[in-house]
Symmetry: C2
C-alpha cells in the first residue's frame, strides 16, 4: 500500500460540506467516488485535515488516502481531475510515508474570510464573499487584533455544537487587507474550533461598526461563553486557504 497526500481546491457552493453524509453531495463522497472508479470498484477512504461546513470553500485543503497502485504523482492528478466534478480540483499529489496523517500531522492552518464592502449588491460575489455594506472603523478592528493573538481558551469563539473539550488554541497571525472594495481577513493558527473563524470575523465586524470596542475582546475571552462574542458570519465568505505541515515552511 502507498499513502498519497493531495492538495485540493473546491467551490463549496453546491456541497453540504466536506464530510460524507447520507443522501447529501459532499466533497469527500465525490472524491471517494472518483477514487473508487480508479480502483475498479474498490472503496478507497479519504481523510482530510479537517471538515469544512456547507458553502465553505477551500483553496488548499489537504487529504490523504492509501492505494495498492503506485502511479507517478502526475498520473494520479490527471486521473482524479478527469473523474472529479468541475467544482473540485486536485492541485497536487505527492507520495507520503505510511505514517503521514493529514489531520494529526497538521501543525497549522490558514483561513481567509472575504467581505464585500460595496454599497451595491454584486451578483458575482454572492457565493464567494459576505456582503457588508456598512461603514467600518479599521483602526478599531486593528486595535482588537493584539488581544486575540497568542494562546487562549477560545470557548467564547466556538459554536456550542461541538464535541471538542480542549478549547485552547494559538493564533499566530491575523491580518486585515482592504483592496478594491473587498475586505480580506487572514488567520493563521495551530488549529481552529468549530465556527471559530466565522465568530472571530463577526466579532471584529461588530468592533468595526462600534457595537463593541477593542478591549471587549479581553472580557469575551474571560467569560468562556459563546453569547458574549459577535454573530457567526455566513459560510460563503470562508476559505480554508492552506494547511501547514512540519516538512515545509
Amino acid at each position: 500500500m502507498q499513502r498519497y497526500k493531495c492538495i485540493v481546491s473546491y467551490d463549496g457552493t453546491l456541497f453540504a460540506g466536506f464530510q460524507v453524509q447520507p443522501d447529501k453531495r459532499t466533497v469527500q463522497s465525490e472524491m471517494e467516488k472518483a477514487l473508487r472508479k480508479m480502483h475498479k470498484g474498490e472503496a478507497i477512504r479519504v481523510s482530510a485535515s479537517g471538515r469544512t461546513d456547507s458553502r465553505v470553500h477551500a483553496k488548499g485543503q489537504v487529504i490523504h488516502f492509501d492505494s495498492p497502485y503506485s502511479f507517478p504523482a502526475e498520473n494520479w492528478e490527471k486521473g482524479m481531475n478527469a473523474l472529479l466534478p468541475e467544482d473540485i480540483a486536485v492541485i497536487s499529489v505527492q507520495e507520503a510515508t505510511p505514517d503521514f496523517h493529514s489531520r494529526f500531522d497538521a501543525t497549522g492552518k490558514e483561513y481567509r474570510y472575504l467581505v464585500s464592502l460595496s454599497k451595491k449588491r454584486d451578483p458575482f460575489q454572492r457565493k464567494y464573499a459576505y456582503h457588508f455594506p456598512y461603514e467600518l472603523n479599521y483602526q478599531a478592528m486593528q486595535d482588537a487584533i493584539p488581544f486575540l493573538l497568542g494562546t487562549h481558551d477560545f470557548t467564547s469563539f466556538c459554536s456550542a455544537k461541538t464535541e471538542v473539550t480542549d478549547k485552547v488554541r494559538t493564533i499566530r497571525e491575523i491580518e486585515l487587507l482592504v483592496e478594491g472594495g473587498m475586505l480580506q481577513f487572514r488567520f493563521i493558527g495551530n488549529g481552529f474550533l468549530y465556527n471559530m473563524v466565522r465568530i472571530l470575523v463577526g466579532t471584529l465586524l461588530e468592533i468595526g461598526t462600534g457595537k463593541k470596542v477593542p478591549v471587549d475582546i479581553v472580557e469575551i475571552l474571560q467569560k468562556k461563553d459563546r453569547s458574549f462574542a459577535g454573530k457567526t458570519v455566513p459560510g460563503q465568505g470562508l476559505y480554508l486557504w492552506k494547511v501547514y505541515y512540519d516538512e515545509e515552511d
Copy 2:
C-alpha cells in the same frame, strides 16, 4: 407614464438567457416579476439593449420600462433590488424621456471575454471564464486585430441561426489584456451579431495556437461563410460590459 432607464448586472449561470421563454428562468421574467409586485399585480414590460444567451453574464446591461408611478430613482433601485433574486442587481435607475429606447438608441456596446490560462482547472472560475490551458502566441493574436477593426460584413462571424439580414458592423476597438493567469478580450463596436464575440474569440485563439495565421482574417471576412471562422467559445466567459448612448461619453 414615466419611462425609466436601468443599468443591470447579472450572473448568467442560472439563467436560460435574458429573454422570456415559457417555463424557463430568464433575467427578463425575473425583472418583470419584481416590477409586477411593485405595481400591485399589473404587468410591466421590460425592454433591453439586446438579448444575452444562456450562461452569459452582464455587468452593464441596460433596460427600460414605463410606470404610472414616479418614485425617486433611489427608491426604484432599492425596491427592485429588494424583490430581485440575488443573481440580478440593479446598479442604477434614472428617469428617461418617453422616446428613449434601450435598444434603438444604443450607439455602441462593450463586451468582454475572459479566458483562464492556468494549467490547472480552477473550481472558482468554471462559471466565469473559459478554461484554455494551452500556449498562445500573443503577438500573432495582436497582429490579427487590425484586420478586424473598422466596418465589415461579419457574416462569417455570425451564427447561422440568425434572422438579421444586414451583417455589416463596425468594431471600434479590440484589446487583449493578460493579467494574473487570465486573458481578457475587450470589444467595442456599434453592435454585434448573434454569437459574433464568441466566434471572434474562438478565431483569435486559433490564431494564438497557430492553427490559423493573422492574415487569414481577410479571407474569412471575404468568404461570408460561417464555416471559415473559428469555433464558438462557451457562453460562461462572455460579459456584456457596457452599453453606450449618445448622452454620455
